[in-house]
């Protein structure tokens, strides 16, 4: 996901960060402006559009009836997929998901799954045979950095917006009844991503900061402030103390976000 950034600007970003400032006026641990809009797509069972600065992600959910995994016969199935749509950046190409989109999908998936955000047992229709399958499709519409946090937030907002059709079982067949119920949501994981630039940690890197960062660290935090998923990315490294510092900041940021978004 590389494109060109001038040396002068690189230097400017690094020098500002050393002084605790950033090019767009933010502090090192500030997020860009966040906008969340739910129910954007009427055809989807649930949807949400998230703007994180100029990064834009749309998530739609679909629910189908399918088979459970053999090791979890009493649980519904969660499937997360991410598409880096070519219109979002000149660096995205059409074709099957590459390692970057697979990584985003799997990190978003881990946050939702490991925090037990969805009560999957309530999505079981007939143990071992029929369950609801929740498809979460992440659509990146504009890439201006930190796709992981934007995607995770959009996925959570879309799940909270998801309505399932009511049903009843008649002679082993699932019959759809009128009316809708919300998806059984228990937890609200928030993912906080850091970039390491010149040995400093910054929160919510935008595109140009991502292009010069040494490494990236994402942490998903649940409603109790516990960590439920971590992913390090990029070809740099972190010192152990930096990781623990990041975990503390992530916890504060997630708490702020829970309050702000009234989760």
């Amino acid at each position: 996901m590389a494109s060109v950034i001038t040396r002068v600007k690189q230097k400017q970003i690094v020098q500002l960060i050393a002084k605790g400032k950033r090019l767009d006026g933010r502090g090192l641990t500030d997020y860009r402006e966040i906008k969340v809009e739910q129910g954007t797509i009427e055809r989807a069972e649930g949807s949400a559009r998230v703007l994180l600065g100029r990064t834009e992600v749309l998530v739609g959910t679909k629910i189908e009836i399918g088979q459970p995994f053999p090791d979890t016969p009493n649980e519904g199935v969660l499937t997360v997929n991410a598409e880096l749509v070519p219109l979002a950046s000149s660096t995205f190409e059409p074709g099957p998901p590459d390692e970057n989109s697979i990584e985003i999908a799997r990190v978003v998936d881990r946050g939702i799954r490991e925090s037990k955000a969805i009560d999957l047992e309530k999505l079981c229709i007939e143990p071992g045979k029929k369950v609801f399958v929740v498809f979460v499709d992440v659509y990146v519409l504009n890439h201006d950095g930190n796709l992981i946090d934007a995607s995770a937030l959009a996925a959570l907002a879309a799940l909270l917006n998801t309505k399932m059709s009511n049903y009843e079982i008649e002679e082993g067949e699932v019959k759809i009844k009128p009316g809708h119920t919300s998806l059984p949501m228990r937890r609200h994981p928030i993912t906080v991503t850091f970039a390491k630039i010149n040995d400093k940690l910054i929160v919510d890197p935008w595109l140009e900061e991502e292009q010069i960062m040494d490494a990236r660290l994402s942490m998903a935090i649940d409603d109790d402030g516990n960590i439920c998923a971590i992913q390090k990315g990029g070809s740099g490294y972190f010192a152990p103390e930096q990781v623990l510092e990041a975990a503390k900041i992530a916890r504060e940021k997630a708490e702020e976000m829970h309050k702000k978004l009234e989760l």
């Binding site: 053999p70 090791d71 998901p97 390692e99 697979i102 990584e103 999908a105 799997r106 881990r110 799954r113 490991e114 925090s115 037990k116 660290l217 649940d222 402030g225 516990n226 960590i227 439920c228 998923a229 971590i230 992913q231 390090k232 990315g233 990029g234 070809s235 740099g236 490294y237 972190f238 010192a239 152990p240 990781v243 623990l244 975990a247 503390k248 916890r251």
Partner: protein, 244 residues
């Protein structure tokens, strides 16, 4: 499918295979096990059996992927169809694609990539038998294979996992503990730089538990680091004796 054991830790505080919470599984590392590769290594860690091979530095193919100022690392982590209980399709899964990426990113900081502009190295990892924490054992083996290939590196990269099972924080998770436990934290380290080059987690840990798990993995890494060096010496010291 295997039976779910009731308890992962017994009354004496021992684990299913009799280990203490901070005890690693037996580890065996062999260097230079494949004759066609420029460097190779084989690791056994518990029931894990993993081969790693390195080819290069060599001309990048396809050529347009070459970079003018540095070497390109490529990595493929792959599990043999017979490596797990139920046959795994040989086609690369999404998990394998993600792991290939994070393993590559864990090894890259150790290499002086700027010494070899326009070239590439290929790292191939084959998991022949999986028993939990395969990404960690793979990194440990791959780094040894890179050293065997003579690639200039800042340090070896060594990896170790920790996790939470039955409310205890334990090191080096085996398969059952990974699947039934409540958290898994794989970490890769360059011990001399104190640099963490891979860090992932899934599960649910408080900040304190996470710190404990992280420290356990770092301790484990340092122990395995000594074994990596022993394995490399075992190969190259014996060569020296022949010369004398």
């Amino acid at each position: 499918m295997s039976q779910k054991p009731e308890k992962l830790i017994d009354k004496k505080g021992l684990r299913l295979d009799g280990r203490k919470p901070d005890e690693l599984r037996p580890i065996k590392i062999e260097v230079g096990v494949l004759s066609n590769a420029d460097g190779s290594a084989y690791i056994e860690q518990g029931k894990n059996k993993i081969l790693a091979a390195v080819f290069g530095p060599k001309e990048m193919h396809p050529k347009h992927l070459a970079l003018p100022d540095r070497m390109v690392l490529r990595c493929r982590y792959h599990m043999a169809p017979f490596s797990v209980q139920e046959r795994k399709s040989p086609a690369p899964s999404r998990r394998e694609i993600e792991l290939s990426k994070v393993i590559r990113e864990s090894l890259e900081p150790s290499v002086f990539i700027e010494y070899y502009p326009r070239t590439g190295i290929d790292i191939f990892i084959e998991v022949l038998q999986a028993d939990g924490s395969t990404r960690c054992a793979s990194i440990t083996a791959a780094s040894v294979a890179m050293a065997d290939a003579g690639i200039p590196m800042r340090d070896l990269v060594v990896a170790c996992s920790a996790g939470k099972v039955d409310d205890a924080i334990v090191i080096d998770l085996m398969d059952t503990e990974d699947k039934q436990g409540s958290a898994d934290v794989p970490v890769a380290l360059m011990p001399n730089q104190n640099a963490i080059t891979l860090l992932q987690m899934d599960g649910n840990l408080t900040l304190e538990e996470f710190e404990k798990a992280l420290n356990l993995t770092l301790e484990g890494c340092r122990k395995i680091y000594a074994m990596q060096k022993e394995a490399l010496k075992a190969k190259y010291v014996s060569v020296k004796e022949v010369e004398e």
